[in-house]
C-alpha cells in the first residue's frame, strides 16, 4: 500500500488510509474544524492521486474505526458479500470509478458490486468524482421502495409533505398539509416534525393527519418524526404507524448520542412490521447528514463524508422505504457555503444509491450559512437530474418550526414539470380524481387548499 504521492513537484506522505480519505475530500468546514482537511489545493489533489491507486482491499484491511470498537464498523463488515468482494478486491479505486462510469455498467451490475463494497470504498470512489460524474453515476441507479405505495419508479418523482407548525396546532398543520396536496405533494409521505416529542402529542397529530388521508382516500403513508422510542410506544398503544422514522449517524458513539443502537433499530423495524399499519416490506424512514458526528464530537478522527457513507451502511441493513439526506441542516461548523452544500448533496445522493438505498435529498440551508434559496433551487434541480426518489415539500420553502429553508411546494411542482417527471402512479390517479392534475400537468384548481373544503 503506497501512501506517498508526487504532484506539482512536491512529495506528500499520508499517515494512513483514514488520512488519505480525509484529505481527498472537497472542501468542507467540518473537516477543517477538526483538523482533518488538506491544507492546500495541491495536497488535496495529491491525496486524490494516492487514493486512486489504492486497492479496495487496502481500504477493507484498514477500517477507519476498528471492528472491535464500533458497532457501525461491525454492521458494514458483517453485511459485505464476501464472494463479490473477492472478485473486486484487487481493483484500484480508480478502476472502480471507471467501472461505475462505463456505459456497460447499468443498475444491475452496480447493485451487484454494491454488495461487495464497504461504505468506506463507496466514499473513496465518490471522492474521485466531479459534480457531473456524481450526477452521471447516480442517474444509473434508482431503487424503489414499497410501504403502502411505491416510490422511486423510473420516470417518477415524489415528495414528502412537511406541514410543520411552531406549536403543533392541528388546524395550522392541516392548512399546510392541504396546500401541499393541492400542489401534488405528499406521495412519498405525509410527515410532520413534532415540536413536542411524547406519545400523547404523537397520537394527537398522527390522528389528525390520518384523518385527512382517510377522508380523501389518499394513497400514501403517514409519519410523525418523533424519536423512534416514541413511535414504538405509540405503535404498541395502537396508534397507526406506517413508517418508523429515525435520524442515524456513522459511528456507534454518535448513534448513542441520538439515543439509538443497532438492536433498537431492529426492534423498531420488527414492531413496524408486527404492529404497524402499512403493507411494507419497507417500513423504515431514515434521515442522515454530513457533519452530525462532528457536531456531536463523535467523529473518531474520520472525515464527515466517509462517516456519511458509513451511515448508509447502517441504513441498508434495515431495508428502508426512504433515506433522506439533510446535510445542509447540520450547521456552518460542518458545511458553510452554498458550494459545500451542493457538493455534499451530490456526494450523498450517489453514495446512498451505490449502497442500494431509495435515496432522496433535502437540499437545504440555515440562515447562519453562506447559502441562499438560489443554492437550494440549484441543489433541487441537480439532484432531480441525478434521479433522486424524492424531495421535501415545505410551504414557501420556509419551515416555520425548524427555522431552515428547503424545497417548496412550488419547487416540487416545478421540477416535475421541468424534467417531465410524474408522481407515484397511485397518487397521480388520486390527483386526477381530485381535479388537481391532468396528463401530468397541474390544473387551474391546483395550489388552492380550499378545494378540500366544500
Amino acid at each position: 500500500m503506497n501512501l506517498r504521492s508526487k504532484i506539482n513537484n512536491q512529495i506528500f506522505t499520508f499517515k494512513s488510509v483514514t488520512d488519505v480519505l480525509a484529505k481527498a475530500n472537497n472542501e468542507k468546514s467540518g473537516d477543517a474544524l477538526v483538523g482533518l482537511a488538506a491544507e492546500t489545493a495541491t495536497e488535496r489533489v495529491a491525496a486524490k492521486l494516492c487514493l486512486s491507486k489504492l486497492q479496495l482491499k487496502d481500504i477493507y484491511e484498514n477500517p477507519v474505526i476498528p471492528y472491535e470498537e464500533d458497532e457501525v464498523t461491525r454492521i458494514i463488515y458483517d453485511d459485505v458479500n464476501t464472494a463479490i468482494y473477492k472478485k473486486i478486491c484487487n481493483w484500484t479505486v480508480s478502476e472502480l470509478r471507471e467501472y461505475i462510469l462505463s456505459s456497460k455498467s447499468t443498475q444491475n451490475e452496480l447493485l451487484n458490486i454494491s454488495r461487495g463494497l464497504t461504505s468506506e470504498m463507496i466514499a473513496a470512489v465518490a471522492k474521485l468524482m466531479s459534480s457531473m460524474d456524481l450526477v452521471y453515476a447516480s442517474k444509473k441507479i434508482k431503487v424503489a421502495g414499497h410501504c403502502n405505495t411505491t416510490i422511486g419508479l423510473p420516470g417518477t418523482l415524489s415528495f414528502r409533505n412537511q406541514p410543520n407548525h411552531p406549536t403543533d396546532n392541528v388546524e395550522g398543520v392541516l392548512a399546510s398539509l392541504k396546500e401541499g396536496l393541492s400542489f401534488g405533494c405528499g406521495d412519498a409521505v405525509l410527515g410532520l416534525n413534532p415540536v413536542e416529542d411524547n406519545v400523547e402529542n404523537f397520537e394527537r397529530v398522527m390522528m389528525a393527519i390520518v384523518g385527512v388521508k382517510e377522508k380523501y382516500e389518499i394513497p400514501t403513508q403517514c409519519c410523525i418524526l418523533a424519536h423512534v422510542t416514541t413511535q414504538m410506544q405509540a405503535a404498541k398503544n395502537g396508534v397507526p404507524v406506517d413508517l418508523m422514522f429515525q435520524s442515524i449517524a456513522g459511528t456507534e458513539s454518535a448513534n448513542k448520542a441520538f439515543g439509538i443502537s443497532a438492536a433498537m433499530l431492529q426492534e423498531a423495524r420488527e414492531i413496524a412490521l408486527k404492529l404497524g399499519t402499512s403493507t411494507g416490506p419497507n417500513v423504515m424512514y431514515f434521515e442522515t447528514g454530513q457533519g452530525s458526528e462532528i457536531s456531536l464530537d463523535c467523529h473518531h478522527g474520520v472525515d464527515e463524508m466517509t462517516l456519511e457513507a458509513r451511515t448508509y451502511g447502517v441504513g441498508r441493513r434495515y431495508s428502508p422505504f426512504m433515506v433522506n439526506n439533510v446535510s445542509g441542516f447540520i450547521g456552518p461548523e460542518t458545511i458553510y457555503t452554498g458550494k459545500e452544500v451542493l457538493r455534499a448533496d451530490l456526494e450523498d445522493l450517489f453514495m446512498g444509491k451505490l449502497h442500494g438505498l431509495p435515496m432522496g435529498i433535502a437540499p437545504c440551508y440555515t440562515n447562519h450559512m453562506k447559502a441562499d434559496q438560489d443554492d437550494q433551487e440549484m441543489g433541487t434541480m441537480l439532484c432531480a437530474m441525478a434521479g433522486a426518489n424524492f424531495f421535501m415539500g415545505v410551504s414557501g420553502g420556509d419551515d416555520c418550526m425548524l427555522n431552515y429553508q428547503d424545497t417548496s411546494f412550488h419547487d416540487d411542482a416545478s421540477i416535475r414539470e421541468i424534467l417531465s417527471l410524474r408522481p407515484a402512479p397511485e397518487f397521480e390517479k388520486w390527483l386526477e380524481k381530485m381535479g388537481i392534475m391532468e396528463n401530468g400537468k397541474l390544473t387551474d384548481r391546483a395550489g388552492d387548499p380550499s378545494i378540500f373544503d366544500k
Partner: protein, 297 residues
C-alpha cells in the same frame, strides 16, 4: 415566591419605567433609514412596499372563507397563489426580504453607536472574524488574558449580578430588544436589593462565554442576553441565559433560559422584569437550570 408576588413585581417595575419615561407605552417602530438616492428620483410619492404577509394570492379560490380561517392558523407561507408552478413576484420578494433580514442579523455587527448609547463597553472573544465565529463555535466561549484584564479594568468586580450582552447569531435582536429589556431587569433587581455590576458587550460570543466571565467578576449570577439563530418569521428573537456561579465545570442543564424575547414573542420589557424575579430565586436557592426548575415545581 408565588406567582402573584412575581406578577406584582413585574407590574411595579413596568409602571416605574413608564413613569421615568424609559419605556414608551406604544411599541416603538424602528425609524426607516434613507438609503442613497439617485438624481432623478421622485421623492414626493410614497415608497413602494412589500405585499402584506396575510395577503391571499390564490386566484378564484374554491372557498375564500376557508382560506381566511387557514391564514389565521399558521405563520407558514401558504395561500400565496402561483405563476405557473412558480411563486408570484410579490411572495418571492417577501421571501427574499425575510431571508435578507436573517442574513443581515447574522452577518452584521452590533453598531458602536448602539453600544455607546447604552453605555456598554465592548470586548471580543478570541474569535478573529465572523467566518471563524460561525465555523468554530468553541472559540466563541473563550476570552484572552488581555481581554480579561480589560474587563476587570473597566467593569465592577464582586457585585451579585453581572449582565452581559452577546451578539450570538443575531445582532439585530440585540439592537431591537436591549433598550427595553435591560432597564426593566436592572430596575427589577435593584427593587429587590440586589447589586448589579456594570453591563458590557462581548462580540463573537457563544453561551459558554459566561463560564469565563463569572469567575473573573466573582458574581453570583450571570444574565447573558444573546441573539438567537434567525428564522424567516423573525430575525429579532433574543434569549436570556442565566446561571448561578457558572465556571468551566458547568453543564448545559445548569443554565436557565428564557427564549423567544421579541415584540411578537415575550415582549422585552416584560421579559426583563420577569428575569429579575428568576435571578432572585437563583440567589435565594444558590442554584440554576434544571435543579431550580425542580425546586419551583
Amino acid at each position: 415566591m408565588d406567582n402573584q408576588i412575581e406578577k406584582d413585581i413585574v407590574e411595579s417595575v413596568l409602571a416605574k419605567l413608564l413613569e421615568q419615561g424609559i419605556l414608551n407605552p406604544s411599541a416603538k417602530a424602528t425609524p426607516a433609514t434613507e438609503a442613497a438616492t439617485g438624481s432623478t428620483v421622485d421623492t414626493d410619492s410614497e415608497p413602494v412596499t412589500l405585499e402584506p404577509m396575510d395577503f391571499i394570492g390564490i386566484e378564484n379560490p374554491n372557498n375564500l372563507e376557508a382560506l381566511k380561517v387557514m391564514r389565521k392558523s399558521t405563520p407558514a407561507r401558504i395561500l400565496m397563489g402561483r405563476a405557473g408552478a412558480r411563486q408570484r413576484t410579490a411572495s418571492l420578494l417577501n421571501f427574499q426580504a425575510d431571508h435578507a433580514a436573517a442574513v443581515d442579523a447574522v452577518f452584521k455587527d452590533v453598531s458602536d453607536e448602539f453600544l455607546a448609547e447604552h453605555n456598554l463597553f465592548k470586548v471580543r472573544t478570541i474569535v478573529k472574524d465572523k467566518d471563524e465565529y460561525l465555523m468554530k463555535p468553541e472559540l466563541g466561549k473563550k476570552l484572552s488574558d488581555e481581554t480579561k484584564r480589560e474587563i476587570l479594568d473597566k467593569g465592577d468586580k464582586g457585585k451579585q449580578v453581572q449582565i452581559i450582552v452577546v451578539d450570538g447569531l443575531s445582532s439585530t435582536s440585540i439592537e431591537a430588544n436591549i433598550a427595553d429589556v435591560m432597564p426593566a431587569l436592572i430596575q427589577g433587581l435593584e427593587t429587590q436589593g440586589i447589586t448589579v455590576a456594570k453591563p458590557f458587550f462581548i462580540q463573537y460570543g457563544r453561551v459558554g462565554v459566561m463560564d469565563e466571565v463569572a469567575p473573573l467578576m466573582a458574581c453570583d449570577v450571570i444574565v447573558q442576553f444573546i441573539g438567537e439563530r434567525p428564522g424567516l418569521i423573525t430575525a429579532d428573537s433574543m434569549s436570556a441565559y442565566m446561571a448561578y456561579r457558572p465556571d468551566h465545570n458547568t453543564v448545559e442543564a445548569e443554565r436557565t433560559v428564557i427564549s423567544n424575547i421579541h415584540r411578537g414573542g415575550t415582549p422585552p420589557a416584560e421579559a426583563g422584569a420577569h428575569l429579575a424575579t428568576v435571578v432572585k430565586k437563583m440567589i435565594d436557592n444558590k442554584v440554576s437550570g434544571v435543579k431550580l426548575a425542580e425546586l419551583m415545581r
